[in-house]
Point group: C2
Chain length 339, copies 2
């Protein structure tokens, strides 16, 4: 049995904990959340499982990590390298492997070169493995694209679209996407950096380019608000017509004046209310050209929870260091415990 | 530079050699084919490349392997474990890594348990890596399916179809598929084992089941001829109306009385002549259900050539032993040499 600590019990972290607890090879042995109101609650009860798990939620990471002897911590606290770095370091120094769904951690080897090198060297020093994963970045718009290029003799250009539903995500994602803001607030938020749209284009584009051996001259990004014509609501946000339901974000990897990688990602809550067909679409122009569609899109919430859980045994077995999804064997759905 | 010997210069092997010769990291240093008429010819000239490669084709494997100091041999001689086993062993004992596109080698750990264990133990003894790959088995109907399950919390059933064009393949494939036979010859060929349809269902189904942790009770296969209404022709076979243009082959993995894996694979030459839409389709029933389509299908010839080439650096770097595509990091299209 692999001993797992779940760090962060927001929308994603709770889902990972719930999923991990059901898996055959996994024993959830600790749970960390900064929300003091959860302190002392049984994790199983908090997650709505049939039985208590005998694991008390705690806000003190050092205490949980010291007392639960985990093989691995799954960190689902935040999107940004700067915020998860100290959490990762705490685990690594205690010889605990790490999976994080922090988007920037999917491939920060250029965007956060110093932090990435630090994590890699510390992971090697302490003999543990660190992986950034998630549905996107980490899978649909990078790993899956690269995997499909494996069946190509050569590749000239990549264009991919992920038209998805943000509804299952938590407050952090809504805020960084500008969901629930007015168009003016959206514009201001983009300017002051509180609204960032999708987090991960720099990482996905760089991952694709590096593995294809392409030297990009620059990465460009473009964001615009998706203005709702209708009332839309999730458990964490309500929007009225005229407000922002999401962000259409485009990332481009450019060589000279040529766009060689284009990732298009309009994300919003409840796209079905305005008859938007969701899906994941990948076109690899090359020899052969490969055109893939997944309809509807792989849901972001469940996909992220699944990937973070399914990569656990691979990360445990892997060589020490900091890796991306392009470095490791494919994720495979883990079998569940017998009921 | 990775030093590569290409063993087998039929339709697939020639394509692999042509592709490998164009790749940045690869130096093709030797070529083996049993056809004595090719002996002494320059490989580059035989492949129709712009320049000679300075590599003479030879029919003597021992001579080529001894004199060309390869890091790896790519074996594209035959579909069956029994036929490629001595070729693989010869390489392994010379400390040469091996990639083979022999379909049965994609995952022979149950279908040819003894041979697979022998290859694995010998590979470990001699410090080399052996991989079976190809478009199918090896990618579309196994690795790609498994990769997509990685984004699932759980999986109940897998149904996948590969509706493809056999036209680019060589004589071996045409014969084993019954292309060019009469319906009577097809029936007789199935009975006496000369016509086998798709080779690889037992391997793909077992690979999927093993990695999902499913204990199958049995694997069933069903084959029927695709009778042509039209005249069709490739460089290696001609068929008249009423003759067999291909084989519709279905493989099923069964637990109790329930089909949990169903792979459907109607293969024929020039399906477009009879308005058959080709494509690769995967449906993973689970949470979430994932429904993927690649239209048209990834072409089998180019896909196999690409995968056999693109896996070379990974196989070189990998731990000693015998592995499948589900064990190794994803294939990625290798960059080409500057012209």
């Amino acid at each position: 049995m692999i001993r797992v600590v779940c760090w962060g019990l927001g929308a994603m972290g709770s889902g990972i904990a719930r999923n991990a607890a059901k898996k055959d090879q996994i024993h959830v042995v600790g749970a960390i959340d900064r929300d003091e109101r959860l302190k002392g609650k049984d994790l199983g009860e908090y997650l709505g499982l049939k039985k208590p798990l005998g694991v008390k939620i705690d806000s003190d990471p050092v205490k949980v990590l010291n007392e639960s002897y985990p093989d691995i911590a799954v960190i689902a606290t935040n999107s940004f390298v700067s915020n998860v770095l100290p959490q990762i370091m705490l685990c690594v120094e205690k010889h605990i492997n790490v999976i994080t769904i922090a988007e920037e951690m999917a491939y920060p080897f250029e965007s956060h070169e110093e932090a990435a090198q630090l994590i890699d060297s510390m992971a090697k020093k302490y003999g543990v493995t660190v992986l950034g994963t998630g549905i996107n970045p980490g899978f649909v718009l990078d790993q899956l694209i690269l995997n499909l290029t494996g069946a190509c003799l050569n590749v000239r250009k990549i264009t991919a679209r992920r038209i998805n539903d943000l509804s299952p995500f938590g407050k952090t994602v809504m805020e960084t996407q500008g969901v629930g803001s007015t168009p003016e607030q959206f514009k201001a938020g983009l300017k002051n950096g509180t609204i960032v749209g999708h987090i991960g284009f720099r990482q996905s584009i760089k991952m694709i380019a590096d593995y294809l051996g392409w030297q990009l001259d620059r990465i460009e990004e473009e964001r615009e608000p998706i203005i709702s014509k209708t009332r839309r609501e999730t458990s964490v946000v309500k929007i009225e017509p005229g407000m922002v339901a999401g962000c259409k974000h485009i990332g481009r990897g450019i060589i000279g004046n040529e766009v060689v990688i284009e990732l298009i990602h309009p994300q919003q809550i409840h796209p079905e209310i305005e008859q938007v067909d969701t899906g994941d679409y990948i076109v690899i122009e090359g020899d052969p050209t490969v055109s893939m569609a997944i309809k509807p899109e792989i849901p972001g919430g469940k996909g992220t929870m699944a990937l973070a859980t399914n990569m656990i045994p691979t990360v445990i077995d892997w060589d020490p260091g900091f890796y991306s999804m392009a470095d490791l064997p494919i994720p495979v759905c883990l079998p569940q415990k017998e009921e």
